[in-house]
């Protein structure tokens, strides 16, 4: 987790984003430091997913600036490709490649983007599968795995690029209750190992236990920004209090 004097790795400054007439982000300004774990909470449609999708340019923001590891996200294709290879992403729907085996899913990007030798990529892939606890599934196809196992493969796939930042877009929302824990355990281990993480989630337990900082989003702006303790015990805004009273 966060150490003192860590350097800024993601800097968002006045980020605005419209989908047609609908403004999803209304000027978001925040900074994420190295090894920090930031959990984003908020009602659906509040712009939390949009923000992390802007950070690796799956969506293009229209105003403001986003700087990742010293590189600004612009229309420059080279910057976008550089940032995407430094930022890992885990999706709600896993989005594994169904026509490739689990191991091929993981080694694909190291082989084609990093141009690593196959032997090295496979060794790293097996180590990552070991880390997420399913090395015995390496030769199977995604369709043969349970949802929790698929999401763990998706985490391993993102980690294979040795990213500096990991983004999680509601990683447990599509899972059965008993599978949520196995994915959260992997994420906790990752956080303890010092990975910089931004996690959009509804898992309050995870936020309380692992997060360095909680951001509460509503209507495209950050309403509350503080430590989990501050957020859960002493929220400053009425909107946050209402949200917490509804879910806790």
């Amino acid at each position: 987790m966060k150490t003192e004097n860590a350097k800024d790795i993601i800097v968002c400054d006045g980020v605005k984003k419209w989908f047609g007439d609908f403004q999803a982000l209304k000027g978001v300004t925040t900074t994420v430091k190295e090894q920090e774990v930031v959990v984003i909470i908020g009602p659906s449609g509040s712009g939390k997913s949009t923000l992390i999708r802007c950070i690796n340019r799956l969506e293009a923001h229209q105003e403001g600036s986003i700087i990742v590891d010293g590189i600004e996200l612009t229309n420059d294709l080279r910057n976008i490709e550089k940032i995407r290879s430094e930022v890992g992403m885990v999706f709600q729907q896993f989005n594994l490649f169904p026509h490739l085996t689990v191991l091929d899913n993981i080694t694909l990007a190291p082989l084609w983007v990093r141009k690593n030798p196959r032997a090295d990529a496979e060794q790293v892939g097996m180590e990552l599968l070991e880390r997420v606890g399913i090395p015995e599934q390496a030769k199977k196809y995604p369709g043969q795995l349970s949802g929790g196992q698929q999401q763990r493969v998706a985490i391993a796939r993102a980690l294979a690029m040795k990213p500096k930042v990991m983004l999680f877009d509601e990683p447990t929302s599509a899972l059965d209750p008993e599978m949520i824990k196995e994915v959260l355990d992997v994420m906790k281990e990752l956080a303890l190992s010092g990975m910089t993480m931004i996690v959009v989630t509804h898992e309050m337990g995870f936020a309380r236990e692992v997060a360095d900082r909680v951001l509460f989003f509503d209507y495209g702006t950050i309403v509350e920004d503080g430590t989990p303790e501050h957020f859960f015990t002493n929220p400053q805004h009425d909107r946050t209090k209402l949200f917490l009273s509804q879910i806790l």
């Binding site: 690796n56 995407r84 290879s85 989005n95 026509h99 694909l108 990007a109």
Partner: protein, 528 residues
Amino acid sequence: MERENKAPDAAGDSAVSTRVHARPPIWRNISVIKWVAQLAALVAVLALFWLLGSEAAKNFSASGISFGWDWLSDPFGVNIREGIDVNPDSGARALVVGAVNTLRVAISGIFAATILGTVVGVARLSRNWIVNRLATVYIEIIRNIPLLVQIFFWSALTIGLSDLVEDDVGTHLFKASNKGFGLAWLFPSTGFWPWLLIVIVGLVAAKFVAAWRTRLMEETGKEAYSLTYAFGTVALFGLVGWFIHPILGFLSGVWDAIGDFIGGLPSSTVSVVIAAAGLLGAAWWIRQFFESRRTPAGFGKMTDDDIFRIVFAGLVGLGVALVGFALGGASIETPGGDVLTVAELIRNGFSNGFHWFADKFTGDSGGPISFSQANVEVRGAGFTQFGTDGIIITPPFFAVWVGVTLYTAAFIAEIVRGGILAVSKGQTEAAQAVGLKRSQYLRLIILPQAFRIILPPMGNQYLNLAKNTSLGLAVAFADIVAVGFTAINQTGQSLPVVLVWMAFFVTMSLIISGIVNYYNRKLKLVER
């Protein structure tokens, strides 16, 4: 499964048997119902065929037409406009010429329509507005006009071209006229077959070379260019073979010896081989079937359907074996007037095949491939015509080929577009998120998954194309339908000709769908 269900504690409905392992009465037993239904269906189909056949035979004999196959071996007596033999000596030979014409237009059409359709389909998804609109206009025009009208259109276009005149006499790389299109082309020459043999050996060698380079790459982690090496190997064999192929001339004697050996075998060998193939094939299939039903706990329970399939496979194998022996007895009169059994005909066919092959290994030092340009010559007084060199695409062939290709490509384009769109957006996002470039994720992620979706409807389009070539009749293209029509006019044997047509198209369609299904199975996603 159901049999193992525990009986409910309370006394159940009296109509439902609640005793463990209770055997249901016959009329409620699913196994019995299935078997009876399968057998009844088989009997009904056979009975229907027998009824139709005997009715047809009765009507034919009543109207004085004898239903027979003699016209297959009788002289055909009419020239065919184009094909491998424009002056066939028998009805069967004429039908073969027509069938080859059909296959030529169908196979070349399938390749052309696939390429064009894929290009147009991708163009339809292009972000370039002009490319996108052009593709849309093409699709909307082509698929909304009946194919027959389009074939007439292309035919009319070629008829509108200028005639060949005396100034055109000579050789041409390309010459368009109302007598067709003359094209320069590459043809196999004297040394072709020995050279081909060397190239095939090269292909096998390339496979080993590629495997070796791939292994090297995986061991060292360095790029080992396995594909480049494989192509290089084939090219090397082709190049060296170009010069050294005459030394394979000695194989001529080997092929002749094999031909003589087969020709000297008793004709019963053919029956034995066919019977053995039938029985072994059935045995192999049944074995495969058992293997596929094997579970870690041993062989699972066979369902009634499974047993039916095994019995059916056994019967088919037995049937093939019986047919094999029947061939030894059935005799046919050849166009030459000899009476031979079918088994002898088949044996002689193989024997002649090897002798034919032997003749191609002359040891002649001529090049394997020759380049030949289309030539225009004058026959008789002022009658200008294409000669025999190069490839001549006749106006009917052109009209049918362009017609079916453009028409089918429009449908293939929509299938390709649909297939690409059907791959979920999440796949693109996931591929982008790990840093793949657009060209990389299209090739590695999107297209492999789209291809899986595209293939089955694509197979349907191939079948449509192959069958639509029969519309060539309208522009006098000498396909199997046109040749068959001539045969009907000559002999009045309409039913046998129609049966030949149907057998031909069914066989062609089954082969096409067999190939498509094979790839479809190979590409299927593995799921639980």
